[in-house]
């Protein structure tokens, strides 16, 4: 079948089961848009900014586990997409971004709306391509999807010159099949390494399980739960791993790291065996590296060899997909005398329970000023913890992580690695697009919210109702907190003296706005918002100078927490 490049792109998207494209048109992609117009199996969402399109595809991908798809034009379209790509790259989110490029003959000539997109995005994508020949287009798109979703997932960009979209080539449906000799991610863990893990587990007296985003990416929650229950050890998760293990399980001790719980950080500092599963020993997690888990042997299960022994030397690496490795390991544990051979953890658990009693997340309630933590608690209670929860970046993000416990995977969407303010609104939109019947709540700050505020219009155009809670402290709160702690309260440029009237702003977009200024108004405001149809902005005027606790100062050891 002879088709134009633009037709091939649409055919490939169908072949690869892509249903939703987030994008923004422009000269170099008009041929592609014309084919999308004619195609009735693809839904296109016109965002108001390319960054919004990429975050929306990212939210879609995190919520579904499928590859998010983005389409942007050359030059400014592609450069606007960069922050979104970097965000997805840092959190290993599967995504394919198609970008238009000036016609092949003009590349390198400083042509109108030309940017070296492949050069610019090289370090913020898992891989990227410039397609110079229409006969290679279908292969490249299939490879892009394959690379995006396999191994350690990530965004892949395909840059397509305009002439390639009009040139013709043969197309045949290949069912997405690819063959990339130089790319063969390892799925199965090494048998001997898995067997050795057993020996470590049997000997441990104070084991601790440390899980990360890899559990979510591998869809391995079930295998993790089985593993954790066989071992019976306390389990802590990174910010990215929340929801990979039910927070209500008694073995769960909360998040670890800079804003982790007392029990999680003390536990990691005291354990004699740390079992890291799909986590990458980020500096927000380890604190001072020399004093991280100082007494522990470390087992590390990860699909990406570069994650292993990058920051912390690991005693037993197992390279492979978590789902496969845990299945194998669980099988071994279940078919052995592990239960009889393992050490007695009673003393270990009583240490953990003593740390738990410190109740590090308790905060002082007040009758006249809203505590931000209370807003999140109320959101949790009134949504029965059943909403997909999306956040922006800052203090509100940490409070959302601490006070909205996650029970299941893919319902907690947050930018961890890059920490991109402005991620929340478009990502929530992407999640709602994927699950129109699920409640989606965005917890944002007035700073972050203003970074992609334009996507309110997209929400309205596509009828994607979400509930937005702005934790409004009139500060770039997280910055202010650092300035309070480490710069003697010199609040240099963190005071947002002017913010828009979010109620009127909601109305300008034909949405609804409510404000709460007193603690007694919090619950009723949330109830009203949940009962109101369509998108609602809740403007919570909170304690301006509340801090996130516990906090491990940058560079300090994990057990050196500032507590409230």
């Amino acid at each position: 079948m002879k088709l134009t490049g633009a037709e091939i792109i649409v055919k490939c998207l169908q072949e690869l089961n892509a249903k939703t494209v987030f994008g923004y048109p422009g000269g170099s992609v008009l041929n592609i848009y014309d084919e999308i117009y004619k195609c009735d199996t693809l839904t296109h969402v016109l965002t108001r900014h390319e960054q919004g399109a990429v975050h929306a595809a990212d939210g879609y991908a995190r919520a579904t586990g499928e590859v998010g798809v983005v389409l942007v034009t050359s030059g400014p379209g592609a450069t606007n997409a960069v922050t979104g790509l970097a965000t997805a790259h840092m959190d290993s989110i599967p995504m394919v971004c198609l970008s238009g490029q000036v016609p092949s003959a003009l590349i390198g000539n400083d042509a109108f709306q030309e940017a070296d997109t492949v050069g610019i995005t090289r370090s913020c994508t898992k891989h990227n391509y410039l397609v110079k020949d229409v006969t290679q287009l279908a292969r490249v798109i299939r490879e892009a999807f394959y690379i995006a979703r396999t191994g350690r997932p990530g965004p892949v960009l395909v840059d397509i010159p305009k002439d390639v979209t009009s040139n013709v080539a043969d197309y045949e449906d290949m069912g997405g099949k690819v063959d990339i000799p130089s790319y063969k991610p390892k799925v199965r863990g090494h048998r001997r390494q898995i067997a050795r893990a057993y020996d470590y587990l049997v000997r441990a007296e104070r084991p601790m399980i440390y899980t990360g985003g890899g559990v979510i990416l591998a869809n391995a929650s079930k295998e993790l739960a089985t593993f954790a229950h066989i071992i019976g050890a306390p389990l802590t998760s990174t910010l990215m791993g929340l929801g990979g293990f039910p927070a209500s399980d008694t073995q769960f001790v909360g998040m670890l790291g800079m804003h982790g719980t007392y029990e999680a950080n003390m536990g990691v500092s005291r354990c004699d065996l740390l079992i890291a599963i799909g986590a990458r020993f980020d500096d927000r997690v380890t604190g001072k590296i020399d004093e991280f888990a100082p007494d522990a042997k470390i087992i590390h299960i990860d699909v990406d060899p570069t994650s292993i022994s990058k920051n912390v030397t690991v005693d037993l690496p197992v390279v492979g997909d978590i789902k496969h490795v845990l299945k194998e390991l669980n099988h071994q544990l279940e078919n052995s005398e592990f239960d009889k051979q393992k050490q007695d953890y009673t003393a270990w658990w009583s240490e953990i329970d003593a740390w738990r009693k410190r109740d590090c997340l308790a905060f002082p309630q007040s009758d006249d000023v809203i505590q931000p933590q209370y807003v999140i608690q109320q959101l949790h209670e009134l949504t029965k913890g059943e909403s997909i929860l999306v956040t922006d970046v800052g203090q509100h993000q940490m409070w959302a992580a601490q006070y909205y416990p996650q029970e299941a995977p893919r319902r907690w969407l947050t930018s961890g690695g890059l920490g991109t303010m402005g991620y929340g609104l478009p990502a929530a939109m992407g999640a709602k697009m994927a699950f129109p019947d699920e409640p989606v709540v965005l917890v944002s700050g007035e700073g972050s919210f203003q970074m992609n505020i334009q996507e309110m219009a997209t929400l309205m155009q596509y009828n994607l109702p979400i509930k937005i809670a702005i934790i409004n402290n009139n500060f770039l709160g997280m910055v202010r907190q650092w300035q309070e702690f480490f710069y003697e309260s010199r609040y240099a440029e963190s005071d947002m003296t002017f913010t828009p009237d979010f109620i009127k702003l909601a109305q300008a977009y034909s949405a609804t706005g409510f404000r709460a200024s007193k603690p007694s108004e919090v619950g009723p405001t949330i109830k009203k918002a949940l009962e109101t149809e369509g998108t609602v902005i809740m403007d919570f005027r909170v304690n301006r100078e509340a801090n996130v606790y516990p906090m491990v100062p940058a560079g300090a050891a994990l057990n050196q927490m500032i507590l409230l």
Binding site: G119, S123, I180, S182, P305, T306, I308
Partner: protein, 164 residues
């Protein structure tokens, strides 16, 4: 410590900038880098010399392996290997120095590949130390310019990087 790393890659456009970009983005050092197509031109073989402790070099090889068009990576320091480098030196030599230049060239079993009444170009191959030594002797005689290829290297024995 210096490490010699051999990298076999798909010979496609942009692959060299991926490799070089990896080093700059992650703050790794490149001391030298040579690259040329091998076999039928579908693949290229890169030899690069880098400096770092074991942990850094382990990261370098893992990161290189992670690049999609990279087919194989070998740290030649981990095995017996041979290495060679080529140097061209242009010496401006008149009358009394000409014999001395030729004598030095001879000692290093190098070849004169260009000669004019006032200059020579000498081609020297060998390990890097030999090249340094030769250069140091020629230098006082009037070196105008010199160029070196950087190391190429190969493991000893029957096994190769291209076919296992």
């Amino acid at each position: 410590m210096k490490h010699i790393i051999s990298v076999l890659v798909e010979n496609e456009s942009g692959v060299l900038s991926r490799v070089a970009g990896l080093f700059s983005a992650r703050g790794f050092n490149i001391e030298s880098l040579t690259v040329a197509p091998v076999d039928d031109g579908k693949q290229s073989r890169i030899t690069l010399v880098t400096i770092g402790n074991d942990q850094i070099v382990e990261q370098i090889t893992k990161q290189l392996n992670k690049l999609i068009p990279v087919i194989r990576v070998a740290n030649l320091n981990e095995r017996a290997h041979v290495e060679r480098e080529l140097m061209l030196v242009k010496v401006a030599a008149e009358q009394e120095n000409r014999a001395e230049v030729l004598r030095i060239a001879d000692i290093f079993r190098s070849r004169v590949i260009d000669a004019t009444t006032s200059s020579f170009i000498i081609e020297v191959t060998g390990n890097s130390r030999k090249l340094d030594a030769c250069y140091n002797l020629l230098q006082p005689l009037g070196v105008v310019e010199m160029v070196r290829t950087g190391k190429v290297a190969m493991s000893r024995g029957e096994k190769g990087l291209e076919k296992r």
